[in-house]
């Protein structure tokens, strides 16, 4: 144990557990709950009459039935047991029954009264706070434990509040990995890095090729790093942003009465108004609802503002031209299998955008390139 916080808490705990306040409480709990657990009673229900007695070893009738007919059993039987809803509170019938049980076992219940009087204020303040705060760590470790088990690596990134020369090896999307690991599917890991004047990844490539996953990964790494968590990557050097902004394609919001394109523009304006040079902005399929011309026009301007601010970001788009807008932009392409364009590798590589090459290949597979289609139509 090396963390200052945990070492201090450990010292506190060992002092607390040695105190008579604590040892007395434990002994009293054991005594009282042991006595309560030993209580067994019987209800004899007949119409609206209830009689409460001590339990005196009467035979389990279900077991007797089972034993009588066991000779007929040869396979697992259907379960006919009903499930019951538990009301949050005892009602007056249950209260009356417990009152009568208390009369049958007066010593046990007198001890309970005394216990309550003695320990009404048992909860230690420091422990109460620890209980709340430790959940922050425990929740994350619980989430990533099954992933680690399958060999996915997490690391504490090298973080800096100045250098924007960032990079990650073997990184992946936590949300997707959680899903894939539960289905025993393989998680594809990616690498990225930015050097010199590079600030923004412009991601292009076929649908279902891993673009959105990459965008999410990039945002997650920076967000998780700034929380102090280990990040989903083998190794990583990351910038500590002041904020992480996202701009993802959304279903049309009828309440706004605005078109989707307009809605997206309003949202990105708000993002850019609030973003600083130290922010991270993740944009996914923004402006996909409009024409190529508009998407190019708006994209150039938004990217221009982002690069002039010098912030870090990802811009997933179907507009190839944006990939080579300026020296701050780095083109990343989602790859397909060379001989089978329908198959994806989910790997992203630094490469000039090549949407047309992909279109040609996928059309060829279905015999729909210009030459093929012409031949078929003339045959």
């Amino acid at each position: 144990m090396r963390s200052r916080g945990l070492i201090a808490f450990r010292e506190y705990l060992s002092a607390y557990t040695g105190s008579t306040a604590f040892t007395g409480l434990v002994a009293d709990i054991d005594a009282v709950s042991g006595a309560l657990e030993s209580v067994r009673y019987c209800l004899n229900i007949r119409g609206n009459r209830v009689r409460v007695t001590r339990y005196e070893g009467e035979a389990d009738y279900g077991e007797q039935i089972q034993r009588t007919f066991a000779k007929f059993a040869k396979r697992a039987a259907k379960d006919y047991r009903a499930t019951f809803r538990n009301w949050p509170e005892m009602n007056h019938i249950e209260e009356r029954i417990v009152d009568l049980v208390a009369r049958l076992y007066p010593d046990v219940f007198r001890a309970l009264d005394e216990f309550r009087a003695r320990h009404a204020a048992y909860l230690d303040d420091t422990i109460r706070v620890f209980d709340r705060e430790v959940k922050f760590y425990a929740a994350y470790l619980t989430l990533i434990a099954p992933m680690r088990k399958t060999g996915l690596e997490f690391c504490y990134p090298d973080v800096s509040a100045e250098s924007k020369h960032i990079g990650a090896q073997g990184c992946f999307d936590l949300a997707l990995a959680a899903k894939l690991v539960s289905r025993d599917a393989t998680v594809v890991r990616n690498d990225f890095h930015l050097t010199g004047p590079e600030r923004i990844f412009v991601v292009t490539g076929p649908n279902q090729g891993g673009k959105t996953t990459f965008a999410r990964t990039f945002g997650q790494l920076h967000y998780l790093a700034s929380l102090g968590y280990p990040v989903p990557a083998r190794e990583a050097t990351l910038f500590l942003p002041d904020r992480v902004f996202t701009h993802f394609e959304r279903e049309e919001d009828l309440a706004t009465l605005r078109g989707k394109f307009e809605d997206e523009l309003v949202r990105i304006r708000d993002v850019l108004d609030r973003a600083t040079a130290d922010s991270v902005v993740v944009m996914n399929e923004s402006f996909a609802s409009t024409t190529l011309r508009d998407a190019l026009y708006v994209g150039e301007r938004v990217l221009d503002r982002m690069t002039s601010m010098g912030l870090l970001g990802v811009y997933v788009t179907f507009v190839d031209e944006l990939a080579s807008l300026n020296e701050a932009c780095v083109s990343m392409v989602a790859c397909v299998v060379k001989d089978n364009p329908a198959e994806r590798t989910f790997k992203l590589v630094r490469r000039p955008a090549d949407g047309l090459a992909y279109a040609e290949a996928i059309a060829g597979k279905y015999g729909l390139t210009y030459r093929q289609l012409k031949e078929r139509l003339t045959a």
Binding site: E37, R40, G62, Q64, Q66, F69, K71, K74, R81, M90
Partner: protein
């Protein structure tokens, strides 16, 4: 409690998965005609027969075990019928009690199960009575064990025990439910307890165990609901046990119906064939062990296609030809290895590890593939399932392409399969295929040829003979001269 009428050591499972090639066998061997004759319009008998015909028994001991049980049934058909009726009555009586609604409350489940058990106990009693009256006249090992089991498991003490439950489960003194204290001191772990029997002494004032009572007021609906909820929690496990017990006894009757149903089906089929004057006989199965040494045995006299006989007025000996021969042979193997009699005067054969059929199909149901594609695809499926000791019945296989190609494909397949110790009966009119085998003088191959009299009439017989080239081009397909080969394994 097991009937053991189908196997000396295990239950017959009429819900078992059918073999993968069941659809092909059913189609090619016209199994449904046979099964309908066994079922006599009873859909349950049909399903039982459909599963039993694919028993694929490979141990001659298991086959003879069923033959002996069946012989008892033939001798005492009324007793079999009576027991079958008891089983059917028990199973259907259950439906008379109010319908089974899933997610019923425990007291409804308990009440209904009690009523069903009342009927089951009566039916078990009738079964005991039949056993008491008839056991002495049965000879087979299967029935001797069965009646012994009934006498042992369903003795008078056991009936008394069941009756006591039925009486106590009416709860004339209310229910007795134990509980402990759970979280927040709420009652937990509710368990129904059997009320100890009370003597007059127990009921004397001051003798009963200490306790406190209260009564729920007349208009306290919430209170009554709570009480009924507590009662249900208590009854839950016992109701479950009782319903499961009822299910288990129903399973017993269902198993009894299935096992007796198979023999009843055999009796139905036998009656039909015998009424037509057709011969039936118990076959003599030979084990597989010797097969690898000296070659498998197959010897039949008066073999005919039972399905064909059942669907026409003529008898089996006066109709048919090559396909009929294949079907008759296939049926005989299946029936023998289901422990049934076979449609022949006599039949002796080594058991097969599985019967497979590859028959020419009249039309391609899907129209997606070419005919040769379809044939090859089916053969591909067979190749995945076939193994040493299996029997393949091929009927005009690969005739959908030209003879040279068809016979070359067939030759390669035959060679591979026979080397894998598969026995093959191959009906073909491809002379290129049959003549080449004939020239090889392989003692492992027997050539049969459809007999035709000088005037062109067929005799429906297939005596041994040399293949002849097809030269009846103008004849209908069925009349085309062909050859039938039986290739047996000598390795």
């Amino acid at each position: 409690m097991k009937a053991f009428l189908m196997y000396p050591d295990r239950d017959f499972d009429p819900e078992r998965d059918l073999p993968a090639n069941e659809a092909d066998l059913s189609n090619d061997l016209e199994l449904d005609v046979l099964l309908r004759a066994m079922a006599a319009d009873d859909p349950i008998l049909f399903e039982v027969a459909r599963h039993a015909i694919h028993s694929d028994l490979t141990s001659p001991g298991d086959i003879v075990y069923r033959q002996h049980v069946l012989a008892d049934c033939i001798a005492q058909p009324d007793v079999i019928g009576d027991m079958y009726e008891v089983a059917v009555a028990a199973i259907t009586a259950e439906k008379k009690v109010l319908g089974w609604i899933f997610r019923d409350s425990p007291d409804t489940i308990l009440n209904r199960s009690r009523q069903v058990l009342r009927i089951y106990v009566d039916m078990l009693h009738r079964l005991r009575d039949i056993a008491d009256g008839s056991a002495a006249s049965f000879r087979s090992e299967g029935f001797t064990q069965f009646f012994k089991m009934i006498a042992r498991e369903l003795d008078d003490d056991y009936f008394a025990e069941m009756e006591a439950h039925l009486a106590d489960l009416a709860f004339r003194h209310g229910t007795l439910i134990s509980a402990g204290l759970g979280k927040g001191l709420r009652g937990a772990r509710y368990i129904l307890r059997r009320q100890p029997e009370q003597t007059w002494r127990d009921r004397m004032p001051g003798r009963s165990k200490p306790g406190y009572s209260f009564v729920i007021a007349d208009r306290d609906d919430t209170g009554m609901r709570t009480l009924s909820d507590l009662n249900s929690r208590g009854l839950n496990a016992a109701a479950n046990a009782l319903a499961q017990s009822a299910d288990h006894i129903k399973d017993f009757f269902q198993m009894l119906r299935a096992e007796l149903g198979f023999y009843l089906g055999c009796l139905n089929l036998r009656n039909l064939l015998v009424a037509k004057g057709e011969p039936v006989c118990f076959p003599a199965p030979a084990g597989q062990e010797g097969a690898s040494q000296e070659g498998a045995i197959l010897s039949a006299r008066g073999l005919y296609d039972a399905s064909l006989s059942l669907s026409t007025d003529a008898t089996g000996a006066n109709q048919g030809g090559k396909s009929t021969f294949l079907r008759g042979l296939g049926l005989a193997y299946l029936m023998m290895q289901a422990g049934m009699f076979v449609a022949a005067e006599s039949f002796t054969a080594s058991v097969t590890a599985g019967v497979f059929t590859h028959f020419k199909r009249e039309e391609d149901a899907t129209m997606e593939k070419g005919k040769l594609d379809e044939e090859l695809a089916r053969m591909g499926v067979i190749a995945e399932q076939v193994g040493p000791g299996c029997l393949l019945l091929a009927n005009e296989s690969f005739a959908s392409t030209n003879e040279r190609e068809g016979s070359e494909i067939a030759r390669q397949i035959i060679r591979a399969l026979t080397e894998a110790r598969v026995r093959i009966v191959f009906v073909t009119h491809m002379y290129d295929l049959s003549s080449r085998y004939y020239a090889e003088h392989d003692p492992g191959i027997l050539f049969l040829r459809a007999e035709r009299q000088p005037d062109g009439h067929r005799t429906f017989r297939l005596p041994p003979g040399e293949p002849l080239p097809t030269s009846y081009g103008e004849d209908l397909y069925q009349e085309v001269f062909g050859a039938c080969m039986v290739k047996e394994i000598t390795r």
